[in-house]
Symmetry: C2
Subunit: 341 residues, 2 copies
């Protein structure tokens, strides 16, 4: 079985975007925000948006199951206040939940959180609880920079975040560390901000005792870990310089890298540098890079091809495709077992 741990609902029906526009326009206008009940998307529309897109590509590529979360760049936690984020997160999470109910064999949901700049992350707990307990979410996406590129939230090792971590540990649910759109003109969203956030989050883990406080907490660093694997010697050297334990002891028990790296040399480096137990198959399909690579004739984000072509032991490939994900996402494993898979 092939499990893709990183898919977003980037193809939701237009009505979602229109509702969001009304919500954003209402901020500070004096007009009331639209109610959730004013968004009406039928099951047929949902089915079509998935069947023609993600599910079609999953079938073409042989991907069996995707951990499916709301569109990352649309989370936009910097817009409005907590109430705005809370209504928006509830709507987006419900849609992913519905997709997973319509296609239970192919999609399992992961939640966005109703984060808002300067607001206590504990306010996200009710949405998290609902998503895990009622919707069967197996993971959450945690945004380390809800400001959208201004980076004024405390680092991930700060106690600011501990209420979230306590709940994640209680539920045995990992967090993918994933920023949203950049409203800072310095940072292109998918070409700089995403990768920078991955590198930043990884280094925050290197310099902190976060995983001593939460030995069972698990972070998934998306986009192949940002710059970390390419600069693995630098990170090993910095850990040494800072008097920290080796990365294998201090960080790799709790952090995992996905395979959203869109060319063969990048995947080959990831496989060569990062222990196989820390690599999780993912494509982020349909995501930031949707085109066909003229050098290969295949989609850039068809990451399965790179992994199949990589010089990896078949047993290790199975870890990357399936068993690591079952271990890192125990609620996914439980769901698959209930399905007899």
């Amino acid at each position: 079985m092939i499990i893709d741990v990183h898919g977003h609902y980037t193809t939701a029906p237009k009505a979602l975007e229109q509702w969001r526009k009304r919500q954003v326009d209402a901020i500070g206008s004096g007009a009331p925000a639209p109610r959730a009940s004013e968004l009406s998307i039928g099951d047929d529309e949902l089915r079509e948006s998935i069947e023609r897109n993600q599910l079609r590509l999953m079938r073409e590529r042989g991907i069996d199951m995707t951990i499916f979360s709301p569109r990352a760049s649309f989370m936009a936690h910097h817009i409005g206040d907590f109430e705005v984020s809370n209504s928006w997160a509830a709507i987006c999470n419900e849609l992913c939940h519905r997709v997973s109910r319509l296609f239970p064999d192919h999609f399992v949901p992961a939640a966005m959180l109703p984060q808002s700049p300067g607001v206590d992350p504990a306010t996200c707990i009710p949405e998290l609880v609902k998503c895990v307990e009622e919707y069967g979410n197996v993971a959450v996406n945690l945004n380390p920079d809800p400001s959208g590129g201004h980076w004024n939230a405390p680092p991930l090792w700060d106690r600011h975040w501990y209420p979230i971590y306590e709940k994640l540990v209680e539920y045995d649910v990992p967090a993918m560390i994933h920023v949203s759109t950049s409203c800072n003109p310095a940072f292109h969203t998918t070409g700089a901000h995403y990768l920078n956030a991955d590198t930043t989050a990884f280094m925050q883990c290197v310099t902190s005792d976060l995983f001593r406080d939460f030995p069972a907490l698990r972070f998934v660093i998306p986009h192949g870990g940002g710059a970390a694997p390419y600069h693995w010697g630098r990170f090993r050297g910095l850990a040494q310089e800072l008097g920290r334990p080796p990365l294998a002891e201090q960080v790799l028990r709790n952090t995992f890298f996905d395979t959203c790296v869109y060319h063969q040399p990048g995947i080959d480096l990831l496989m060569r540098v990062i222990p196989v137990d820390n690599i999780l198959f993912a494509s982020e399909m349909i995501g930031a890079v949707r085109g066909i690579d003229p050098e290969t004739g295949h989609h850039y984000d068809d990451t399965r091809r790179y992994i199949d072509a990589a010089n990896v032991d078949p047993a290790d490939r199975r870890k990357i495709y399936e068993s690591n994900a079952r271990r890192v996402y125990p609620r996914l494993d439980a769901r698959l077992r209930r399905q007899g898979r």
Copy 2:
């Protein structure tokens, strides 16, 4: 010959740091700032600080010439106003100039600029002129984020920066895009901020027409280009998605990556992905990572070992070690020729 395009004067005599402390302490205190003439460092002290450190390691590693600039993390453009940065840059640049006079066969200077957040970069021109015309500097370090991690300066393609670019083109001098210390707790200086800046700058080049306006402008992206080579497929795909020309046409005529990547797999990736004409040998020695890698028994930053061990044609290796640097830094080439090298 082996030319290291990226060395910093990280081993300056303590008096420099003490002078800087007095300068910083004076800001807003009502006390006068120390004068430049109050800093006294003799040639013997300079010689010793270099001979025992950078020059010793250059000899051990067979590096013939280093492009030598003030300590990057100490530039700290976010401290004080333009006058503070201007005095500090003048002092640091003069020291590198003196080092290059004391060791003309081994060091050639590159300048830091007296940038200051929110201040017109044109104010940096007099220092730049002095460094090129009087001190023989062959390059400058340009900080894309003088705020030190708040990233509130315009992107590098903004006309804000054009006065600098005009002067660089006039002098045929490249800019290394290099941030300084991070005062944002989210970003570890050398483990996140540096690499993020490299990735950010590269993506700013991808999305802009900067090099159409300045076809002769050259940027060196340090630290192996941040995350760019590891995610080369992503960047190629994003350029395509955004309707930009291929990277080879649009960016690689003007941008170059150094080899400050501190392990063999990273260097191997760089060599595999980036055209050899765009790779410049560098170590950033003595810099962020000073230790010995227990996996190899050698210094992490002994990057020559990785390049010697890489699967590269000898002619290509000569490009990386010497001829690319002579092409990208014509004033270095002229100086070497004057020396009969």
